[in-house]
Amino acid sequence: MESETESLAEGAEAKIHLATFLGLPAVRKVRLRKAYRHEALDARLRSERIRTEARLLREARRAGLRTPVIYDLDLSRETLTLERLEGTPLTEILRDPSGSPERRQEVVRHLGRALGRLHAASISHGDLTGSNVLWMGTDVAFLDLSLGSRTPGLEEFGIDLHLVEEDLRTLCADAEALYEIFQAAYSEANPRDAAAIRERAQEIKGRVRYA
Protein backbone atom coordinates (compact mmCIF):
# COMPACT_ATOMS: atom_id res chain seq x y z
CA MET A 1 0.00 0.00 0.00
CA GLU A 2 2.43 2.56 1.12
CA SER A 3 6.18 2.62 1.17
CA GLU A 4 8.45 5.03 2.88
CA THR A 5 11.54 6.62 1.49
CA GLU A 6 13.11 9.55 3.25
CA SER A 7 12.30 12.38 5.59
CA LEU A 8 11.38 15.58 3.77
CA ALA A 9 11.05 18.07 6.57
CA GLU A 10 10.73 18.45 10.28
CA GLY A 11 8.27 21.18 11.14
CA ALA A 12 7.46 22.44 14.60
CA GLU A 13 4.99 19.66 15.22
CA ALA A 14 5.51 16.83 12.83
CA LYS A 15 7.97 14.89 10.74
CA ILE A 16 7.16 14.79 7.04
CA HIS A 17 8.29 11.65 5.21
CA LEU A 18 8.35 11.17 1.48
CA ALA A 19 6.12 8.25 0.63
CA THR A 20 4.01 6.81 -2.11
CA PHE A 21 0.38 5.85 -1.83
CA LEU A 22 -1.02 3.45 -4.42
CA GLY A 23 1.90 4.47 -6.57
CA LEU A 24 1.18 8.19 -6.21
CA PRO A 25 3.69 10.62 -4.77
CA ALA A 26 2.68 11.29 -1.19
CA VAL A 27 3.94 12.58 2.14
CA ARG A 28 3.29 11.05 5.52
CA LYS A 29 2.87 13.57 8.29
CA VAL A 30 3.54 12.05 11.69
CA ARG A 31 2.81 14.15 14.72
CA LEU A 32 5.55 13.91 17.30
CA ARG A 33 5.05 13.42 20.99
CA LYS A 34 6.21 16.43 22.91
CA ALA A 35 8.11 15.47 26.03
CA TYR A 36 7.64 18.93 27.49
CA ARG A 37 3.88 18.53 27.58
CA HIS A 38 2.00 16.60 30.22
CA GLU A 39 1.04 13.30 28.59
CA ALA A 40 -2.72 13.77 28.76
CA LEU A 41 -2.49 17.31 27.37
CA ASP A 42 -0.16 16.18 24.60
CA ALA A 43 -2.42 13.29 23.60
CA ARG A 44 -5.42 15.61 23.57
CA LEU A 45 -3.69 18.19 21.39
CA ARG A 46 -2.33 15.66 18.92
CA SER A 47 -5.70 14.03 18.51
CA GLU A 48 -7.56 17.36 18.20
CA ARG A 49 -5.10 18.76 15.72
CA ILE A 50 -4.89 15.81 13.36
CA ARG A 51 -8.69 15.71 13.15
CA THR A 52 -8.96 19.46 12.62
CA GLU A 53 -6.28 19.36 9.98
CA ALA A 54 -7.95 16.55 8.03
CA ARG A 55 -11.37 18.17 8.23
CA LEU A 56 -10.23 21.65 7.26
CA LEU A 57 -8.04 20.43 4.40
CA ARG A 58 -11.08 18.66 3.02
CA GLU A 59 -13.44 21.58 3.52
CA ALA A 60 -11.03 24.15 2.14
CA ARG A 61 -10.70 21.97 -0.92
CA ARG A 62 -14.44 21.75 -1.25
CA ALA A 63 -14.53 25.57 -1.14
CA GLY A 64 -12.31 25.56 -4.23
CA LEU A 65 -8.95 26.19 -2.60
CA ARG A 66 -5.78 24.35 -3.37
CA THR A 67 -4.83 21.91 -0.57
CA PRO A 68 -3.25 18.44 -0.66
CA VAL A 69 -5.71 15.58 -1.11
CA ILE A 70 -5.99 13.37 1.96
CA TYR A 71 -5.03 9.83 1.00
CA ASP A 72 -5.23 8.29 4.45
CA LEU A 73 -5.88 9.21 8.05
CA ASP A 74 -4.61 6.76 10.66
CA LEU A 75 -5.76 8.05 14.02
CA SER A 76 -4.21 5.20 15.96
CA ARG A 77 -0.77 6.10 14.64
CA GLU A 78 -1.48 9.80 14.37
CA THR A 79 -0.46 9.80 10.77
CA LEU A 80 -1.89 11.71 7.88
CA THR A 81 -0.97 10.63 4.36
CA LEU A 82 -1.30 13.50 1.91
CA GLU A 83 -0.85 14.17 -1.76
CA ARG A 84 2.69 15.42 -2.32
CA LEU A 85 2.56 18.90 -3.80
CA GLU A 86 5.45 20.10 -5.93
CA GLY A 87 5.62 23.65 -4.71
CA THR A 88 7.98 26.09 -3.00
CA PRO A 89 7.30 27.28 0.54
CA LEU A 90 6.51 31.01 0.50
CA THR A 91 9.20 31.54 3.11
CA GLU A 92 11.83 30.61 0.53
CA ILE A 93 10.50 32.97 -2.10
CA LEU A 94 9.94 35.88 0.27
CA ARG A 95 13.31 35.76 1.99
CA ASP A 96 15.31 35.13 -1.18
CA PRO A 97 17.49 38.25 -1.52
CA SER A 98 17.93 37.66 -5.26
CA GLY A 99 14.17 37.39 -5.87
CA SER A 100 12.53 40.23 -7.79
CA PRO A 101 9.97 42.52 -6.12
CA GLU A 102 7.52 41.65 -8.92
CA ARG A 103 7.69 37.97 -8.04
CA ARG A 104 7.06 38.71 -4.36
CA GLN A 105 4.15 40.95 -5.30
CA GLU A 106 2.60 38.28 -7.48
CA VAL A 107 2.92 35.70 -4.72
CA VAL A 108 1.35 37.86 -1.99
CA ARG A 109 -1.44 38.89 -4.35
CA HIS A 110 -2.31 35.22 -4.79
CA LEU A 111 -1.99 34.67 -1.05
CA GLY A 112 -4.44 37.52 -0.40
CA ARG A 113 -6.90 36.20 -2.91
CA ALA A 114 -6.72 32.63 -1.56
CA LEU A 115 -7.04 33.73 2.06
CA GLY A 116 -10.00 35.93 1.16
CA ARG A 117 -11.72 32.91 -0.35
CA LEU A 118 -10.83 30.70 2.61
CA HIS A 119 -12.33 33.26 4.99
CA ALA A 120 -15.37 33.78 2.80
CA ALA A 121 -15.92 30.01 3.17
CA SER A 122 -15.84 30.49 6.95
CA ILE A 123 -12.49 28.82 7.59
CA SER A 124 -9.59 30.42 9.44
CA HIS A 125 -6.07 29.07 8.96
CA GLY A 126 -4.65 29.66 12.43
CA ASP A 127 -0.96 29.29 11.53
CA LEU A 128 -0.52 31.40 8.47
CA THR A 129 3.24 31.66 8.06
CA GLY A 130 5.25 31.29 4.89
CA SER A 131 6.24 27.72 5.78
CA ASN A 132 2.60 26.66 5.62
CA VAL A 133 1.83 27.99 2.17
CA LEU A 134 3.30 26.58 -1.05
CA TRP A 135 3.73 28.54 -4.27
CA MET A 136 2.56 26.24 -7.04
CA GLY A 137 3.66 28.39 -9.96
CA THR A 138 0.28 29.88 -10.77
CA ASP A 139 -1.45 29.73 -7.41
CA VAL A 140 -0.85 29.04 -3.72
CA ALA A 141 -1.73 25.91 -1.73
CA PHE A 142 -2.49 25.89 1.97
CA LEU A 143 -0.87 23.34 4.28
CA ASP A 144 -1.01 22.69 8.00
CA LEU A 145 -4.52 23.80 8.91
CA SER A 146 -4.41 22.08 12.30
CA LEU A 147 -4.81 25.33 14.24
CA GLY A 148 -7.64 26.57 12.05
CA SER A 149 -11.30 26.88 12.89
CA ARG A 150 -14.55 26.06 11.12
CA THR A 151 -16.47 28.52 13.30
CA PRO A 152 -14.15 31.48 13.32
CA GLY A 153 -15.07 34.90 14.63
CA LEU A 154 -13.56 38.28 13.81
CA GLU A 155 -10.70 37.52 16.18
CA GLU A 156 -9.58 34.34 14.34
CA PHE A 157 -9.87 36.04 10.95
CA GLY A 158 -8.01 39.08 12.26
CA ILE A 159 -5.21 36.90 13.65
CA ASP A 160 -4.70 35.34 10.20
CA LEU A 161 -4.12 38.78 8.69
CA HIS A 162 -1.97 39.83 11.60
CA LEU A 163 0.23 36.73 11.17
CA VAL A 164 0.74 37.52 7.50
CA GLU A 165 1.83 41.06 8.34
CA GLU A 166 4.25 39.90 11.04
CA ASP A 167 5.68 37.22 8.80
CA LEU A 168 6.26 39.64 5.93
CA ARG A 169 8.05 41.98 8.31
CA THR A 170 10.25 39.15 9.48
CA LEU A 171 11.12 38.04 5.97
CA CYS A 172 11.20 41.01 3.57
CA ALA A 173 12.48 44.54 3.42
CA ASP A 174 9.52 45.65 1.27
CA ALA A 175 7.00 44.23 3.76
CA GLU A 176 4.81 47.32 3.89
CA ALA A 177 4.18 47.53 0.15
CA LEU A 178 3.64 43.77 0.00
CA TYR A 179 1.12 43.85 2.82
CA GLU A 180 -0.82 46.57 0.98
CA ILE A 181 -1.00 44.41 -2.12
CA PHE A 182 -1.97 41.41 -0.02
CA GLN A 183 -4.78 43.35 1.67
CA ALA A 184 -6.16 44.69 -1.59
CA ALA A 185 -6.37 41.19 -3.08
CA TYR A 186 -7.83 39.88 0.16
CA SER A 187 -10.55 42.53 0.21
CA GLU A 188 -11.52 41.77 -3.37
CA ALA A 189 -11.95 38.09 -2.59
CA ASN A 190 -13.80 38.63 0.68
CA PRO A 191 -15.74 41.85 0.00
CA ARG A 192 -18.43 41.29 2.61
CA ASP A 193 -16.22 41.10 5.71
CA ALA A 194 -12.84 42.47 4.65
CA ALA A 195 -13.29 45.92 6.18
CA ALA A 196 -14.23 44.61 9.62
CA ILE A 197 -11.51 41.95 9.57
CA ARG A 198 -8.82 44.39 8.50
CA GLU A 199 -9.89 46.70 11.25
CA ARG A 200 -9.65 43.86 13.77
CA ALA A 201 -6.18 42.96 12.48
CA GLN A 202 -5.10 46.57 13.06
CA GLU A 203 -6.55 46.44 16.54
CA ILE A 204 -4.70 43.21 17.35
CA LYS A 205 -1.46 44.76 16.17
CA GLY A 206 -1.94 47.86 18.26
CA ARG A 207 -3.05 45.96 21.34
CA VAL A 208 -1.20 46.96 24.43
CA ARG A 209 1.99 45.00 24.32
CA TYR A 210 2.42 46.00 27.92
CA ALA A 211 -0.75 45.32 29.87
Binding site: K34, Y36, I159, E166, L171
Partner: protein, 338 residues
Protein backbone atom coordinates in the same frame (compact mmCIF):
# COMPACT_ATOMS: atom_id res chain seq x y z
CA UNK B 1 34.43 51.27 28.53
CA UNK B 2 32.06 51.37 31.50
CA UNK B 3 28.37 52.30 31.33
CA UNK B 4 25.85 52.84 34.09
CA UNK B 5 22.37 51.57 33.24
CA UNK B 6 19.01 52.43 34.74
CA UNK B 7 15.98 50.17 34.59
CA UNK B 8 12.44 51.11 35.66
CA UNK B 9 9.89 49.78 33.17
CA UNK B 10 7.58 48.23 35.76
CA UNK B 11 7.86 47.16 39.40
CA UNK B 12 11.66 46.97 39.49
CA UNK B 13 14.05 49.88 40.02
CA UNK B 14 17.60 48.85 39.25
CA UNK B 15 21.02 50.33 38.57
CA UNK B 16 23.86 48.35 37.01
CA UNK B 17 27.45 49.10 36.10
CA UNK B 18 28.93 46.99 33.29
CA UNK B 19 32.22 47.10 31.42
CA UNK B 20 33.17 46.50 27.78
CA UNK B 21 33.76 42.78 28.27
CA UNK B 22 30.23 42.41 29.65
CA UNK B 23 31.47 42.04 33.19
CA UNK B 24 28.82 43.17 35.66
CA UNK B 25 30.77 45.39 38.04
CA UNK B 26 27.76 45.99 40.26
CA UNK B 27 24.00 45.66 40.34
CA UNK B 28 21.59 47.24 42.84
CA UNK B 29 17.92 46.36 42.57
CA UNK B 30 14.81 47.18 44.56
CA UNK B 31 11.38 45.82 43.72
CA UNK B 32 8.15 47.59 44.54
CA UNK B 33 5.75 45.31 46.39
CA UNK B 34 2.24 46.66 46.83
CA UNK B 35 0.66 45.95 50.22
CA UNK B 36 -2.30 44.34 48.47
CA UNK B 37 -3.63 43.92 44.94
CA UNK B 38 -1.67 44.27 41.73
CA UNK B 39 0.76 46.92 40.58
CA UNK B 40 -0.29 50.59 40.71
CA UNK B 41 1.88 52.46 38.18
CA UNK B 42 1.95 55.73 40.11
CA UNK B 43 2.76 54.15 43.44
CA UNK B 44 5.47 52.09 41.77
CA UNK B 45 6.90 55.26 40.20
CA UNK B 46 6.94 56.98 43.60
CA UNK B 47 8.72 53.98 45.06
CA UNK B 48 11.33 54.14 42.29
CA UNK B 49 11.90 57.89 42.74
CA UNK B 50 12.46 57.26 46.42
CA UNK B 51 14.95 54.38 46.11
CA UNK B 52 16.94 55.49 43.04
CA UNK B 53 19.38 57.86 44.81
CA UNK B 54 20.41 55.10 47.18
CA UNK B 55 20.60 52.49 44.38
CA UNK B 56 22.88 54.74 42.30
CA UNK B 57 25.11 55.31 45.32
CA UNK B 58 25.25 51.58 46.13
CA UNK B 59 25.93 50.54 42.53
CA UNK B 60 28.67 53.12 42.17
CA UNK B 61 30.42 52.32 45.43
CA UNK B 62 30.34 48.55 45.06
CA UNK B 63 31.51 48.72 41.44
CA UNK B 64 34.78 50.31 42.50
CA UNK B 65 34.49 52.44 39.38
CA UNK B 66 35.27 56.14 39.49
CA UNK B 67 32.75 58.52 37.93
CA UNK B 68 35.42 59.66 35.49
CA UNK B 69 35.63 56.11 34.07
CA UNK B 70 31.94 56.07 33.19
CA UNK B 71 31.44 56.75 29.50
CA UNK B 72 27.69 57.02 29.31
CA UNK B 73 24.39 56.72 31.16
CA UNK B 74 21.92 54.26 29.62
CA UNK B 75 18.25 54.10 30.50
CA UNK B 76 15.27 51.96 29.68
CA UNK B 77 13.23 54.05 27.24
CA UNK B 78 10.37 51.58 26.72
CA UNK B 79 8.16 49.68 26.46
CA UNK B 80 6.70 49.88 29.93
CA UNK B 81 4.50 51.79 32.31
CA UNK B 82 4.73 55.53 31.63
CA UNK B 83 5.11 56.80 35.20
CA UNK B 84 7.71 54.14 36.04
CA UNK B 85 9.73 54.81 32.88
CA UNK B 86 9.68 58.53 33.60
CA UNK B 87 11.11 58.12 37.09
CA UNK B 88 14.10 56.20 35.69
CA UNK B 89 14.58 58.61 32.79
CA UNK B 90 14.60 61.54 35.23
CA UNK B 91 17.42 59.97 37.22
CA UNK B 92 19.33 59.19 34.02
CA UNK B 93 19.03 62.79 32.80
CA UNK B 94 20.13 64.14 36.15
CA UNK B 95 23.23 61.94 36.22
CA UNK B 96 24.06 62.67 32.59
CA UNK B 97 23.96 66.40 33.26
CA UNK B 98 25.71 66.31 36.60
CA UNK B 99 28.55 64.10 35.34
CA UNK B 100 28.50 65.44 31.78
CA UNK B 101 28.02 62.06 30.14
CA UNK B 102 26.09 61.16 27.00
CA UNK B 103 22.63 59.70 27.48
CA UNK B 104 21.85 56.42 25.68
CA UNK B 105 18.27 55.16 25.20
CA UNK B 106 17.75 51.40 25.35
CA UNK B 107 14.80 49.18 24.47
CA UNK B 108 13.96 46.96 27.41
CA UNK B 109 13.06 43.80 25.43
CA UNK B 110 16.14 44.04 23.24
CA UNK B 111 18.25 44.45 26.38
CA UNK B 112 16.98 41.10 27.70
CA UNK B 113 18.02 39.48 24.43
CA UNK B 114 21.43 41.18 24.24
CA UNK B 115 22.53 40.41 27.81
CA UNK B 116 21.57 36.75 27.35
CA UNK B 117 23.30 36.70 23.98
CA UNK B 118 26.63 37.97 25.28
CA UNK B 119 26.53 35.77 28.40
CA UNK B 120 25.70 32.66 26.34
CA UNK B 121 28.19 33.34 23.59
CA UNK B 122 25.46 32.40 21.10
CA UNK B 123 25.63 34.15 17.77
CA UNK B 124 22.03 34.80 16.87
CA UNK B 125 19.62 33.31 19.41
CA UNK B 126 15.85 33.45 19.66
CA UNK B 127 14.62 34.94 22.96
CA UNK B 128 11.70 33.56 24.91
CA UNK B 129 10.77 36.53 27.03
CA UNK B 130 8.33 35.71 29.79
CA UNK B 131 7.72 38.34 32.44
CA UNK B 132 4.84 40.13 34.11
CA UNK B 133 3.64 42.31 31.26
CA UNK B 134 5.61 40.79 28.40
CA UNK B 135 5.28 37.41 26.76
CA UNK B 136 7.12 37.33 23.47
CA UNK B 137 9.29 35.32 21.16
CA UNK B 138 11.88 37.75 19.77
CA UNK B 139 14.67 37.29 17.25
CA UNK B 140 16.90 39.36 15.04
CA UNK B 141 15.87 38.88 11.45
CA UNK B 142 16.01 40.90 8.27
CA UNK B 143 18.02 43.71 9.90
CA UNK B 144 15.75 44.28 12.89
CA UNK B 145 14.60 42.73 16.12
CA UNK B 146 11.27 41.05 15.42
CA UNK B 147 8.50 39.90 17.63
CA UNK B 148 7.75 36.52 16.08
CA UNK B 149 4.96 35.77 18.47
CA UNK B 150 3.45 37.19 21.60
CA UNK B 151 0.46 37.16 23.90
CA UNK B 152 -2.73 38.48 22.38
CA UNK B 153 -4.13 39.44 25.78
CA UNK B 154 -2.47 39.10 29.20
CA UNK B 155 1.23 38.81 29.94
CA UNK B 156 2.05 35.41 31.47
CA UNK B 157 3.21 36.94 34.77
CA UNK B 158 0.17 39.19 35.09
CA UNK B 159 -2.02 36.21 34.33
CA UNK B 160 -0.36 34.11 37.07
CA UNK B 161 -0.46 37.03 39.51
CA UNK B 162 -4.14 37.68 38.86
CA UNK B 163 -4.96 34.04 39.34
CA UNK B 164 -2.91 33.76 42.53
CA UNK B 165 -4.45 36.97 43.91
CA UNK B 166 -7.92 35.60 43.30
CA UNK B 167 -6.90 32.57 45.36
CA UNK B 168 -5.83 34.77 48.24
CA UNK B 169 -2.09 35.13 47.58
CA UNK B 170 -0.19 38.43 47.71
CA UNK B 171 1.81 40.12 44.94
CA UNK B 172 3.80 38.74 43.20
CA UNK B 173 1.64 35.65 42.99
CA UNK B 174 3.81 33.65 40.60
CA UNK B 175 6.22 32.27 43.22
CA UNK B 176 3.31 31.33 45.51
CA UNK B 177 1.57 29.55 42.67
CA UNK B 178 4.86 27.76 41.97
CA UNK B 179 5.02 26.58 45.58
CA UNK B 180 1.43 25.29 45.44
CA UNK B 181 2.11 23.57 42.13
CA UNK B 182 4.87 21.50 43.73
CA UNK B 183 2.18 20.01 45.99
CA UNK B 184 -0.17 19.34 43.07
CA UNK B 185 -1.22 15.78 42.19
CA UNK B 186 -4.13 15.64 39.77
CA UNK B 187 -3.89 17.46 36.47
CA UNK B 188 -7.09 19.07 35.25
CA UNK B 189 -7.72 19.55 31.51
CA UNK B 190 -7.68 23.30 30.78
CA UNK B 191 -7.95 25.35 27.58
CA UNK B 192 -4.72 25.52 25.59
CA UNK B 193 -4.55 28.49 23.31
CA UNK B 194 -1.87 28.77 20.64
CA UNK B 195 -2.53 30.67 17.40
CA UNK B 196 0.42 30.30 15.09
CA UNK B 197 3.23 31.80 17.17
CA UNK B 198 0.90 33.76 19.45
CA UNK B 199 -0.73 32.71 22.72
CA UNK B 200 -3.63 33.94 24.78
CA UNK B 201 -4.38 33.38 28.45
CA UNK B 202 -7.87 34.79 28.99
CA UNK B 203 -9.62 31.50 28.19
CA UNK B 204 -7.31 29.68 30.59
CA UNK B 205 -7.99 32.30 33.25
CA UNK B 206 -11.76 31.95 32.92
CA UNK B 207 -11.57 28.15 33.01
CA UNK B 208 -9.25 28.22 36.02
CA UNK B 209 -11.66 30.47 37.92
CA UNK B 210 -14.50 28.10 37.04
CA UNK B 211 -12.46 25.16 38.37
CA UNK B 212 -11.94 27.08 41.62
CA UNK B 213 -15.69 27.66 41.87
CA UNK B 214 -16.15 23.90 41.48
CA UNK B 215 -13.87 23.40 44.47
CA UNK B 216 -10.62 22.13 42.90
CA UNK B 217 -7.64 21.89 45.31
CA UNK B 218 -5.56 25.01 44.78
CA UNK B 219 -2.40 22.88 44.55
CA UNK B 220 -3.91 20.85 41.70
CA UNK B 221 -5.11 23.98 39.97
CA UNK B 222 -1.68 25.61 40.26
CA UNK B 223 -0.02 22.52 38.79
CA UNK B 224 -2.55 22.25 35.95
CA UNK B 225 -2.23 25.94 35.11
CA UNK B 226 1.57 25.83 35.11
CA UNK B 227 1.70 22.72 32.92
CA UNK B 228 -0.75 24.23 30.45
CA UNK B 229 0.55 27.79 30.30
CA UNK B 230 4.25 26.82 30.19
CA UNK B 231 3.59 24.26 27.47
CA UNK B 232 2.05 27.08 25.43
CA UNK B 233 5.23 29.13 25.93
CA UNK B 234 7.42 26.18 24.95
CA UNK B 235 5.35 25.63 21.84
CA UNK B 236 5.59 29.20 20.57
CA UNK B 237 9.33 29.18 21.24
CA UNK B 238 9.59 25.89 19.34
CA UNK B 239 7.58 27.31 16.46
CA UNK B 240 9.72 30.44 16.34
CA UNK B 241 12.90 28.35 16.29
CA UNK B 242 11.54 26.05 13.57
CA UNK B 243 10.33 29.01 11.55
CA UNK B 244 13.76 30.69 11.49
CA UNK B 245 15.72 27.44 11.43
CA UNK B 246 17.55 28.64 14.53
CA UNK B 247 19.28 26.34 17.03
CA UNK B 248 19.90 28.76 19.87
CA UNK B 249 17.41 29.81 22.49
CA UNK B 250 17.86 32.20 25.41
CA UNK B 251 15.46 33.00 28.20
CA UNK B 252 14.57 36.30 29.82
CA UNK B 253 12.02 37.77 32.22
CA UNK B 254 10.90 37.01 35.75
CA UNK B 255 8.71 34.04 34.80
CA UNK B 256 11.67 32.54 32.94
CA UNK B 257 13.32 32.04 36.36
CA UNK B 258 10.69 29.42 37.14
CA UNK B 259 12.31 26.00 37.54
CA UNK B 260 9.43 24.09 35.95
CA UNK B 261 9.38 26.34 32.90
CA UNK B 262 13.15 26.00 32.53
CA UNK B 263 12.90 22.21 32.71
CA UNK B 264 10.11 22.16 30.14
CA UNK B 265 12.09 24.41 27.80
CA UNK B 266 15.05 22.01 28.08
CA UNK B 267 12.74 19.10 27.25
CA UNK B 268 11.50 20.96 24.18
CA UNK B 269 14.98 21.89 23.00
CA UNK B 270 16.95 18.67 23.58
CA UNK B 271 15.30 16.46 20.92
CA UNK B 272 15.65 19.28 18.34
CA UNK B 273 19.33 19.77 19.09
CA UNK B 274 18.72 23.29 20.29
CA UNK B 275 21.07 24.87 22.81
CA UNK B 276 19.44 26.79 25.65
CA UNK B 277 20.87 29.48 27.88
CA UNK B 278 19.14 30.81 30.99
CA UNK B 279 20.79 33.81 32.63
CA UNK B 280 21.27 33.74 36.41
CA UNK B 281 18.09 35.05 38.09
CA UNK B 282 19.52 38.51 38.88
CA UNK B 283 20.17 39.09 35.16
CA UNK B 284 17.04 37.27 33.97
CA UNK B 285 14.58 39.54 35.80
CA UNK B 286 14.43 43.26 35.03
CA UNK B 287 17.83 44.70 35.88
CA UNK B 288 20.05 47.71 35.27
CA UNK B 289 23.02 45.60 34.10
CA UNK B 290 21.31 44.55 30.88
CA UNK B 291 20.46 48.19 30.20
CA UNK B 292 24.10 49.12 30.80
CA UNK B 293 25.36 46.36 28.48
CA UNK B 294 22.94 47.33 25.73
CA UNK B 295 24.02 50.92 26.38
CA UNK B 296 27.61 49.90 25.66
CA UNK B 297 26.59 48.32 22.35
CA UNK B 298 24.39 51.27 21.38
CA UNK B 299 26.89 53.94 22.40
CA UNK B 300 29.63 52.21 20.42
CA UNK B 301 27.20 52.24 17.49
CA UNK B 302 26.84 56.01 17.82
CA UNK B 303 23.42 56.07 19.48
CA UNK B 304 22.86 58.87 21.98
CA UNK B 305 20.02 61.23 22.71
CA UNK B 306 19.94 64.86 23.77
CA UNK B 307 18.22 65.62 27.06
CA UNK B 308 15.39 67.44 25.28
CA UNK B 309 14.75 64.43 23.05
CA UNK B 310 15.01 61.81 25.72
CA UNK B 311 11.30 61.14 26.10
CA UNK B 312 10.19 57.73 27.27
CA UNK B 313 8.26 55.51 24.84
CA UNK B 314 5.80 53.36 26.83
CA UNK B 315 4.66 51.58 23.67
CA UNK B 316 7.92 51.37 21.77
CA UNK B 317 7.83 48.49 19.32
CA UNK B 318 10.72 46.08 19.19
CA UNK B 319 11.01 46.45 15.42
CA UNK B 320 11.50 50.22 15.75
CA UNK B 321 14.89 49.75 17.37
CA UNK B 322 17.96 50.57 15.30
CA UNK B 323 20.72 48.07 15.93
CA UNK B 324 23.99 49.22 14.35
CA UNK B 325 25.78 46.71 16.57
CA UNK B 326 24.24 43.82 14.66
CA UNK B 327 25.86 43.65 11.26
CA UNK B 328 24.44 42.08 8.11
CA UNK B 329 21.02 42.53 6.56
CA UNK B 330 19.46 39.16 7.31
CA UNK B 331 21.30 37.51 10.14
CA UNK B 332 23.09 38.38 13.32
CA UNK B 333 26.57 39.77 13.26
CA UNK B 334 29.24 39.27 15.87
CA UNK B 335 29.11 40.99 19.20
CA UNK B 336 31.90 43.49 19.13
CA UNK B 337 32.52 44.65 22.66
CA UNK B 338 34.33 47.92 22.20
Amino acid sequence: MVVLGIESTAHTASVGVVDGSARVRSLATDMYRPAHGGIHPREAANHHAEVFPELVERALVSSGVDVTEIEAIAFSQGPGLGPCLRSGATVARTLAQAWEKPLVPVNHCVAHLEIARVLSGFRDPVLLYASGGNTQVVAFSNGRYRVLGETLDLGIGNFLDKLALSLGATFPGGPILEKWAREGRDVEALPYSVHGMDVSFSGLFTAARAAVARGIRKEDLALSVELTAYAMLCEIAERGLAHLGSRELVLGGGVACNARLRAMVEAMAAPRGIRVYSPPPSLCVDNGAMIAWNGILAHAGGITTEIEDSVVLPRQRTDQVDAPWRAGPSSGGEVSPP
